[in-house]
Symmetry: C2
Subunit: 276 residues, 2 copies
Amino acid sequence: MKSPELWFTEYQTRGLALSFRVKRTLEHFKSKFQDILVLETEEFGRMLVLDGCVMTTERDEFIYHEMLVHPSMMLHPSPRHVLIIGGGDGGALREVLRYKEVEKSIMVELDEEVVRISKQYLPSIASAFDDPRADVLFYDGAKFVRECNDGSFDIVIVDSTDPVGSAEVLFSKEFYSEIKRILRPNGIVVTQSESPFLHFEFLKKFHSMLKSIFLKVKLYTASVPTYPSGFWSFTIATDSPLSKTPFRKEPDGLKFFNSKMLNHIFILPNFLKDFE
Amino acid sequence: MKSPELWFTEYQTRGLALSFRVKRTLEHFKSKFQDILVLETEEFGRMLVLDGCVMTTERDEFIYHEMLVHPSMMLHPSPRHVLIIGGGDGGALREVLRYKEVEKSIMVELDEEVVRISKQYLPSIASAFDDPRADVLFYDGAKFVRECNDGSFDIVIVDSTDPVGSAEVLFSKEFYSEIKRILRPNGIVVTQSESPFLHFEFLKKFHSMLKSIFLKVKLYTASVPTYPSGFWSFTIATDSPLSKTPFRKEPDGLKFFNSKMLNHIFILPNFLKDFE
């Protein structure tokens, strides 16, 4: 007697699909904003899927979250106030709050249900919501930034979904102009910036837009197995002269990032030279 | 009227599968050694599949082949004689022969059909077979190494399939002991060494075996989208004090690797620290 096999498939492009064998479905419903699915997978532990796209998994989230957060945190002279746009699973917040220098981290997530479900099913990722320095707002990220006072934050982290639908605005010129305004001197903004392998043309446009706003725009990459092509990128933008050496050691407990890596993450392979 | 969709799926582990939309099947047959499939894919151009596993694609082969070949070529003081075990698609040979220092490169491939099919369908990869410095032998790689004279090669490149079936011997202690014997002083051997993300335990055993033979064993990684998890590794082993700076500039025409990257490829993320 053979048990049936259940697989979840994400169509990453029209010609590429990644499938995960599923032990069971833990939760599946539609929130006000999106389709929310939580799976227990064979290979990647628990997995959060929004609108059919893998957002995070217990097994490989450390790569994405550490690479998203630590480079800018270590290159800022004094990251006291940190804004996270999106990031409902809590992984970026967890990494930000590893720094004792952080006095306050405000996370602005559109969908309350993502936070609720992450606390329930992904406790190792959603582990920092109870930190007294964390403030979680369920609100439109672009609107929040627009309504924010000038010079409010040292670091802004954009932990968004792909640039389609409700997250499209989080890749727009208007949004980044507002982010520039709410950053303090030495301020840094960092965002996930899709796959340099699959989304090269998007990346070119995105960087050229950012360069029309910020003095320095830098790309770096990492292998994130569950994201399209497994070859992922992040983009830092700032008006400050970006330090070449870290202002602090990395916090304890990291599984991926370390300060030695910081010296070279901005050195890119030839096909990405235009983004250096 | 909707056209039917044809997809090829590789089951990378029992819980993870990567699928490619196929425009057409160019060739499919069984050679004396394996099942050989050549596909025209939507996203990755032409693709060579051996025994159901993606070996190479026109679109992402540059990452794998450049990362396999160039670090050791640039860290060797004088790479005149280079042996390639496997590598039937010709990509490793193409990269080796970019160096004018190379006087002779012998490629030992078990399956003549892989070379024939690569010349026919993957001419951009199989582009160096006509180079007068190239010698192609259709022979068992392990046997070739065993029968080889002491100190015959400056560099040995093992461009093999996964460590199962006929390629298992290419990851054995006996094989690497023979490789050590046929290397000259300053000799370097490099091999693909599977996914550090999916095959961590294999990698631990493989490195501990290599360390029982060679003085220096170093891991480095790259994103290779069509290989399992997209997070791939390579291993260099040598008895010489591995230089920290390259002996030569990278050759022209590379799409991925450059000498700036050489300074940091051996700096690894925390979960791979034991391999540094």
